[in-house]
Point group: C2
Chain length 290, copies 2
Amino acid sequence: MENSVVVNKLVVIGVGLIGGSFSLDLKRAQLVRQVVGVGRSTANLERALQLKVIDAAATDTTKAVCDADMVFLAIPVGQMDTVLACIAPALPAHTLITDGGSTKGDVAQLYRKHLPDSLHRCQPAHPIAGSDLSGAAAARYGLYENKKVVLTPLAETTPETTAKVAALWQACGAEIIQMSPTEHDTIFAAVSHLPHVLAFTYMNTILARPDAATCLQLAGSGFRDFTRIAGSHPEMWRDIVLANRAPLLADLAAFKTQLEQMMLQLEAADANALEQAFLAASKVRSSWLR
Amino acid sequence: MENSVVVNKLVVIGVGLIGGSFSLDLKRAQLVRQVVGVGRSTANLERALQLKVIDAAATDTTKAVCDADMVFLAIPVGQMDTVLACIAPALPAHTLITDGGSTKGDVAQLYRKHLPDSLHRCQPAHPIAGSDLSGAAAARYGLYENKKVVLTPLAETTPETTAKVAALWQACGAEIIQMSPTEHDTIFAAVSHLPHVLAFTYMNTILARPDAATCLQLAGSGFRDFTRIAGSHPEMWRDIVLANRAPLLADLAAFKTQLEQMMLQLEAADANALEQAFLAASKVRSSWLR
């Protein structure tokens, strides 16, 4: 790792699973001299200090970023507008800005809105390491080992900015993938946002039953894994689905069409069609190695 | 464990995850003197012999059961009709008959059809230990440790029959729960069959996309867990959904209604309604301990 990659002062806004784990790995790799954590919850910041996830805590965002060399926005996408509005006037001219937002089209628009003259040093990113866990206590070393990080550079982002952000993620063990914000949002609507909405919806379908308690008592390992993501952070997921509404609605419609077809096959007791549908799904899932 | 629980000759029809693991645990607990495995695939039976899951293998079902003390039908529910028709004339008068079928209403009917004079010694059962794995190689010690086994006795099943089957499952570490076949099928449509159909349908929605390969490449841990059950055995699941069609169709309709409501909320960008829905699901899932 070249010395130019070392960050003097990294400000992590939102010290949870994503921001906290990034900080831990960079501190261990000695690629950052000081990490200042910023957040709304002082209890969470205190926990982050205790766990040495950050070196210092701040609640005044403007003050924290005024001498930052890099700012990592590790907050739900719904908070990006407010936070960018707050930090934009205070950012020094050299500061590199990146994020870990789960949607990228809306984040690109927000960089354009708040930092129109600084787009060369903005690098939107999305580490694929979500979890149903949240908060500083969820942060851990090695979270990004063998995980993918999608970088969606703006047209204005300089290759140096992209390279620096890429190098830091690679130091965390991640594999870098580059694509456009639109491509990113289309793909993640399908592989992440749709299953979350389905899992939330499924849980609520169970909860609406008069025998919900018995159902939960008898549910096994299939239920456990299928519903794990239904335990995800409600506010964060509200923001994500709203930020990626159009692709997600298209995917929901596609899913609904497939579901209606499956229901017709089941109504007709069409054993062959059902087996073919299950077989197609099962073959691909069984050969998918992760 | 009383001596009366020991089974001299146990015939396991279908030596896969469920039948094989039952055999392994009972052999280890010395509650069975000989286990004969019966199956359609000689390769699978040979593997079961190699792995000492069974003591002997047979392909002639009628011959295998003619001196059995207990028969365990560990086959997909769609095969029960044929297998019961085949063994019914050959069963000795004292043989206890049980199964591991994922649906219970249809299995109860099949016992009535094929063994009308032997219902006192039939004990329908459902061990809640499914997996996306199948075959003798998936069998393992301790699979049933702390798992639940639902017993759905017929009106004619004697308490002695139920007690013996319960004792064997308890020796495998399982907890016994007793209910009616109807109650069983209603609950498992909701907590098991519905999520399987949703997972299969979701996988097929992804596969129908032109960018399916990229989607699979970028999918993370949420996708992995949500789709695990889509890797399940297609033939077995075809049989289950057909056997439990009415309750499952009702659950699919209930899910579809909830999904349409969620889609309307997303279309309307109703942040509050979405957050409330996600919160309700997340709260219950996070407090559900398994």
